[in-house]
Subunit: 375 residues, 2 copies
């Protein structure tokens, strides 16, 4: 019996039972810690899924682009953090109507970006709430915690059209932690660095009220640092091989898989499946984007459910080259396999829709309405 | 004066003058060699661009998916090679109406796939033309040249609903050639291996007429092997860092660039631009998908036009982390840069539309109508 005979391949499956468990588990983490959960929608890019998170207690959503905020507002989400520096007249022009429709919060790390937003605040007669982003180790946006950040804060509080509500960070380098102790160390640093910087700001008379942290690997440890007010994990909704390798998810907690078909067995130790980098994204084993190679355990471009003897070794755009550890194991043209992606956010962004299933039953098509919103 | 002030960023620019030169140059290569040029549309995914190639002499197009064939047929292309093994009832059901609308040729590498296609041929009262794919070194689909392939051909000619018209291959491993001599060696092997295998088939009474090769790096050398009838390069239409590194394109021959804005200067040696893996794809310096790392010369995730002092070192989904070789060089928040992607096919597939320009003038929006057609 073929897997999901109702579907052509490749197709992206979301196991809704697993997704709902993931939502409940992370909400419980947030509730126990007394922290607001504002999930990042980069993973699912779906207002329908965001609605399921809100039902269980999420306080709003996090997005990275104006286009994603528009999609979420259209889908009924009323509290949106655009956690990305919005620079330039085109973006501010699109931001203006959003300010009227929903509660918008922004984040940024420099005065040049803040000045444009402040002007928009003045023009529209409001103080736009902004977070100041701090670099707690990913070396992306933000200055170092401490005086480096306080100096930026001093410039921001002079601007009349913004309200500096707090500090924000993303400790994505948790993926590179070599064990649970290191990961907890990253989580503690993420929160403490912000709290200590906020205290330094307070001593200079810069009062803020929000401390926002977030990444799926560090999220389970948010209660380690009292004083954090908000967390913004995204990947936990579906999980992926990166989360398994970070030690914060099991294979059974991975909700998203790609259903593929074997289209060729050109050699005894090789099978080719009908999904490549255009289906999985090319997010590679050794390149999660955080610099050096992390301590990951699973080889290849994904994990084949129920078939640890198969390794997805190489991807071309439309081809997945799979190595057979044991060529005598059964695998023939037409066989279907389910593959957990390395990085589910990159994978989901390749697709216009995904299929919600419960076990072997197909329940609904879920449009990825926020896919490809690069602006 | 900002680059392209009419556009928000990130935006994908296609320099149409450069594109037209690339079309003319490759058509001249094909014409001189007496070989039909059937460009692969995986790079541009646009019927409009395919039309520009056809105007200059292209004999048709190559696609990988039924959905891409549908888009090209809708866009007026009348001769389409689907160079991908189509397996299963869903795909054959969609193939049927295409057979009535346009000239369709298929490729495959095994009898299991061929049997389904043969049944469709019989049901629709025709012999569907198919190529047999041969592995000339990329180790993707296909058996080795010689008797391995002849054995598959013997099975195919027994099937009543297909017409085995010839042999096809893709020597994508040309990207890993260390110098021009090695690359010419790959191109010679690509053509000769097919011709020798066709001759072996002929001795067994299996007459075929077509020899189809293709990859952008080997394409300029197609005249090295008399007897090739068709070539299918794709990337040459826009070119990218991979083509530069393979020695078959210059930076000036790269038509596609991503226009980005500097959104932060968090450290003297770091700038962050508003394009990451969701804009460029995550096709990485050390991972072109052909196995081992090739002998590439350009570091990073793209080349910054006119700024060799800037290296796009890391990508997160929405962030491009750029290293400054010389922190004293000018680069500030709001500055715009144009970046040539490593792998243009992967980049284009992230976008719903691209912007056709001539120098600094904006000429047209080009929908990427074939984007994301995973089936």
């Amino acid at each position: 019996m073929a897997l999901y005979p109702e579907l052509d391949t490749p197709s992206v499956l979301i196991d809704l039972d697993v997704m709902e468990d993931n939502i409940a588990r992370m909400q419980a983490v947030a509730d126990r810690a007394g922290v607001r959960l504002r999930p990042h929608t980069k993973t699912h890019k779906s207002p329908w899924v965001a609605g399921r998170q809100a039902e269980k207690g999420a306080s709003g959503v996090t997005v990275a682009k104006i286009g994603e905020a528009e999609v979420m507002a259209d889908g009924g989400i009323r509290d949106i953090l655009i956690a990305y520096p919005l620079y330039g007249e085109y973006k501010l022009r699109r931001l203006r109507p959003l300010l009227e429709r929903v509660k918008i919060t922004l984040s940024l790390d420099n005065a040049e970006v803040a000045e444009g937003i402040s002007r928009l605040g003045q023009e529209t007669g409001r103080k736009i709430p902004v977070y100041l982003e701090v670099d707690t180790g990913i070396h992306r946006l933000g200055r170092d915690p401490g005086m480096e950040t306080v100096e930026v804060a001093r410039d921001l509080v002079k601007l009349p059209g913004i309200d500096l509500i707090g500090l924000i960070t993303h400790a994505g380098q948790g993926h590179d932690a070599r064990n649970r102790e290191e990961l907890i160390g990253v989580a503690r640093h993420e929160g403490r660095a912000l709290l200590e910087t906020a205290e330094m700001m307070r001593r200079e008379g810069i009062e803020t009220r929000e401390i926002s942290v977030g990444s799926s690997p560090t999220a389970p440890f948010v209660s380690e640092v009292p004083g954090v007010t908000e967390m913004r994990p995204g990947t936990y909704i579906y999980n992926d091989v990166m989360q398994i390798d970070a030690g914060v998810a099991t294979q059974e907690q991975c909700a998203a898989t790609v259903l593929v078909t074997v289209i060729s067995r050109p050699a005894p130790d090789r099978a080719v499946v009908d999904g490549g980098s255009k289906t999985f994204s090319s997010d590679a084993p050794a390149s999660y984007g955080h610099g050096e190679v992390g301590p990951r355990r699973h080889p290849g471009f994904g994990m084949v459910v129920g078939r640890p003897d198969l390794i997805l070794q190489r991807l071309n755009e439309e081809h997945g080259m799979m190595g057979l550890a044991d060529p005598s194991m059964d695998l023939k043209v037409g066989d279907r396999l389910r593959i957990i992606p390395n990085h589910v956010c990159g994978m989901i962004n390749m697709h216009d829709e995904v299929i919600g299933v419960r076990g072997s039953l197909i329940e609904r098509t879920i449009p990825v309405a926020g896919r490809g919103k690069i602006r």
